[in-house]
Symmetry: C2
Subunit: 197 residues, 2 copies
């Protein structure tokens, strides 16, 4: 009973415990990513690939996360479209690895998703303001506040300027590039605050 545990056994136990804690990390990444409008599974797969020393096959990913191969297959294809994972070489059964530099993807999302959202609001506001001015000329007493619409319009324009700057912020490593970014960003920030009452 007092005999020491064999080394390889305790090493195996430690590896098991580590695996369990890695899965907790992937869950945390999944929850975080879910809040940002993506699916939890995308964050979990990216994280497990990012933390694994060697590239992994889809079967290995499915086993590590405890999900079906079907889910891994479709999720990896979406991650590949966003350039967040990539096969290590050409061919059908190439193992996958995570792309660690996620900034290009964030930048793309801001460019497409956020820009379209703000642009839709901006166009709707422009259209409503135009109609409000026509109605006012016709002497209708309006329930809607054209001044507030114009304030929100300015807000969308300021948000678009801000997005443009963020998206252009590809690699502000150099101090002068950062200073230029900061100069323009502060200008936009002042514009944003002005639109509040």
């Amino acid at each position: 009973m007092s005999r020491l545990v064999e080394p390889e056994v305790s090493a195996q136990r430690a590896a098991d415990r580590l695996h369990e804690r890695v899965i907790r990390v992937t869950d945390a990444v999944g929850e975080f990513i879910e809040w940002w409008g993506f699916k939890s599974i995308h964050g979990r797969i990216w994280a497990v690939l990012a933390l694994h020393k060697a590239p992994m096959s889809q079967v290995e990913v499915a086993r590590a996360l405890g999900v079906s191969r079907a889910l891994v297959s479709s999720s990896i294809r979406e991650l590949e479209e966003w350039r967040l994972v990539r096969p290590t070489h050409d061919g059908r059964n190439a193992p996958w690895e995570a792309v660690i530099d996620v900034w290009p993807t964030i930048s793309d999302v801001l460019r497409s998703r956020e820009w379209m959202m703000v642009e839709a609001a901006r166009l709707a506001l422009e259209s409503a303001i135009e109609e409000a001015e026509i109605a006012e000329e016709l002497g209708a007493d309006l329930a809607w506040d054209a001044g507030r619409m114009r304030a929100l319009l300015r807000l969308t324009e300021a948000a678009q300027s801000f997005l443009k700057i963020l998206v252009g912020l590809r690699a502000p490593r150099a101090a002068d590039g950062l200073a230029e970014w900061v100069r323009r960003a502060s200008h936009v920030f002042r514009g944003l605050r002005r639109t509040e009452r």
Copy 2:
């Protein structure tokens, strides 16, 4: 047939068209807000209150948006908890108005929601790193990359510094306050870039 349309009739038509375009604005705000993890209905209600000249009762809001009173009731209570709408005075049937300055709410969301997400990931990473070091000492050959874990840990720490700065950015109206924010933000940005490979 050549008689002119009566003025009050065309004015009424213009008011109807305006109402329709206002609803398009509220839909755009709803979609935007939905991408940020909130419900579309919250954005629509806030927008309709923000664009209406006078405060509105729940029934008016429900009619304007074409949804049930039940939905307006529960949604307005949640918006009130987040301080995005408020009753114009005390009492049960006080009409509601939108709070236009949304920055305090954004700040709160960053403080609670985002902070907790990053903190959960940070703790999971710390725990995994600890276990990886134990396992390495026991001579296990690990599939997981402790160096990558440490890089992600630094990323979470940098993200928390950045969040702290954003949350502290209450009202950077004064030029010197903004300069200080910019100084610290640029420092954090450099830290963020360093953690990438």
